[in-house]
């Protein structure tokens, strides 16, 4: 009975894990590669959803709507970067400010707190109309998108520009003395990170059939939980491993949540459970007296 129930949660965990895995990929770029604790995510995720919902319901083609959503996410991330690099606002505060600003922006974009997408044609409608169990084409779709994005990030991080971005997070003084403007790298990296996150929001909204102004709450903590879980399995030695860890971690995270729900965890307690997971993962090394291992190396805090 229980085992059968667990097996049944696998496909939906896979689908959700891959869809939200794009958030985890974004978090890898900001937290891991740039060492920038970017909290914009809680605002840029619903931003992607809001833009896509508003445009699709206005009759714009879903593909174009998604592209515009990704672009707005990019801009939002750049804004956070500019707050930090230009106005010298602390990195955490920059993200919190943008996240707060985006709440109002998202309400403006949608004109209300919630837009239904169930009755309009979205990017996923053709997939849902196939003569297959609903989840099969969706899992394949999200797999292609998530793995494609992972591969794109892996490739980019090995270009001249991408290496300069990684060095910015690793040793800012060193790469500056090699002639790289690290402020530009921070702004660009946060733009890319939040573009990923907004893409996730845009696709999730179409998958679940609505965009809601509150759908980003706790997204950064969920993303962190995903990468922490994934890194425990795959490590962080190379960029390819980090991005793999993010996607796999996201799937495992969704699976753990699904199992928890089956075992009687109240949906309202989900964010509590996620928070506790992250606290334990970050805190246990300190309790064991091995602070260095657990610490994320972060700039500007």
């Amino acid at each position: 009975m229980l085992l059968e129930g667990l097996l049944r949660t696998i496909p939906v965990s896979l689908e959700q894990g891959l869809a939200y895995g794009l958030v985890a990929l974004g978090v890898v770029i900001s937290f891991r590669i740039l060492s920038f604790p970017d909290l914009t995510v809680d605002g840029s995720f619903p931003l992607g959803a809001a833009v896509v919902a508003r445009l699709i319901t206005a009759g714009i083609h879903p593909w174009i709507s998604v592209l515009v959503a990704v672009a707005t996410g990019f801009i939002a991330g750049c804004c956070t970067g500019l707050l930090n690099t230009r106005l010298k606002i602390n990195s955490l505060l920059s993200g919190i400010l943008m996240m707060t600003v985006l709440y109002s922006v998202n309400l403006r974009i949608m004109g209300r707190s919630n837009i239904q997408l169930l009755t309009v044609d979205t990017l996923l409608t053709p997939l849902e109309q196939l003569e297959l169990p609903r989840l099969v084409p969706l899992i394949l779709f999200f797999l292609v998108v998530a793995v494609g994005m992972k591969a794109a990030i892996d490739l980019f991080m090995h270009t001249q520009l991408g290496m300069a971005m990684r060095a910015t997070g690793d040793n800012e003084q060193m790469i500056r003395s090699l002639g790289v403007n690290t402020d530009h790298m921070t702004v660009l990296g946060l733009g890319l990170s939040n573009a990923c996150v907004a893409l996730s929001g845009a696709l999730v909204a179409q998958d679940q059939g609505f965009a809601d102004v509150g759908m980003g709450i706790g997204m950064i903590v969920a993303g962190l939980a995903s990468i922490i879980i994934g890194e425990a399995v795959f490590g962080i030695r190379t960029v390819a491993r980090m991005t793999l860890a993010a996607l796999a971690g996201s799937v495992i995270y969704k699976f753990i949540i699904a199992v928890g729900l089956r075992l009687g965890l109240a949906p309202t307690d989900l964010k509590l459970a996620t928070g506790v997971m992250v606290i334990l993962a970050l805190g246990i090394p300190a309790l064991r007296g091995k602070e260095k291992e657990g610490k994320l190396h972060l700039r500007g805090v």
């Binding site: 980019f156 090995h158 270009t159 001249q160 520009l161 991408g162 290496m163 300069a164 990684r166 060095a167 690793d170 040793n171 003084q173 060193m174 790469i175 500056r176 003395s177 090699l178 002639g179 790289v180 403007n181 690290t182 030695r237």
Partner: protein, 259 residues
């Protein structure tokens, strides 16, 4: 090659902690000069290098490199002309990135970076050759992260990185001070070899007077942000530690410096 005129830098101006770190300093380096810099702690040696590199903004004065006025250029804009090595071996390399990636980044110093592949096969072969000439066995470890290297290996790698694309001026700030004596000697020998082989213009801060006297064709001594002693050529070649101590012992109240 390097011209510094009337350079001034005051930290915490207008507060109780006001500190005049560089005080109306003039310095001219000819092409190929290898100048050692000594002075007690707080004399302004690091500040001078930071002002040349643009890490700090100047209060007054001018810096020219190879005839070009760079005063007011940002640090990353001046990077095109300068190679830099810091005291801390951790400062000069990106630990999580591989040896070949660090070299490739250094080779692009001061150049625009695009979406082309970071480490190409032909460059990798060139790095392998350059590394094998250093004799540290790093040529077989191109794909290992730099975090696995020892301090001396990291500092030697930094040295190679700084000179892969030859700088107009090489700035070294006590780059062997954090190493054990044997490694320090190896790195110092490598430094001299690289500087002389490539006819580099170099400014090398050292905490060791013997080193300062032994290396280079000119030595300057800083005291309270000014050049107190400037010696070159034959006179420098004949200089001894005892002589310097006899003349400046009063201002060189620094054990390590005399050791």
């Amino acid at each position: 090659m390097l011209q510094i005129e009337g350079l001034r830098k005051t930290f915490n101006a207008g507060t109780a902690d006001e500190k005049r770190a560089i005080d109306d300093l003039d310095l001219h380096l000819a092409s190929g000069d290898f100048v050692t810099v000594i002075g007690s702690n707080g004399a302004g040696k690091s500040t001078l290098l930071n002002l040349i590199a643009g890490s700090y903004t100047t209060d007054q004065g001018e810096v020219h490199i190879d005839g070009e006025r760079v005063t007011g250029f940002s640090e990353c804009r001046r990077a095109a002309y300068l190679g830099r090595i810091f005291q801390d071996p951790l400062m000069g390399t990106a630990a999580s990135m591989t040896i070949e990636e660090n070299l490739a980044m250094a080779e692009l110093r001061g150049k625009p970076r695009g979406l082309t592949w970071g480490v190409t096969a032909s460059r990798r072969a060139a790095y392998r050759q350059r590394l094998s000439r250093m004799g540290l066995g790093l040529e077989s470890r191109l794909k290992q992260p730099v975090s696995l290297l020892s301090g001396g290996q990291r500092q030697s790698l930094t040295l190679l990185m700084a000179t892969l694309h030859l700088p107009k001026v090489l700035l070294l700030d006590e780059h062997t001070a954090a190493l054990d004596p044997k490694t320090a000697r190896t790195v110092m020998a490598l430094t001299e070899q690289i500087i002389t082989d490539n006819h580099l213009t170099a400014l090398m801060v050292t905490h060791n007077m013997r080193q300062a006297i032994h290396y280079g064709n000119r030595m300057i001594m800083l005291h309270e942000g000014r050049i107190q002693f400037d010696v070159s050529g034959q006179e420098k070649a004949e200089l001894t530690v005892q002589e310097v101590v006899a003349r400046f012992g009063g201002t060189l109240n620094d054990e390590a410096l005399l050791g």
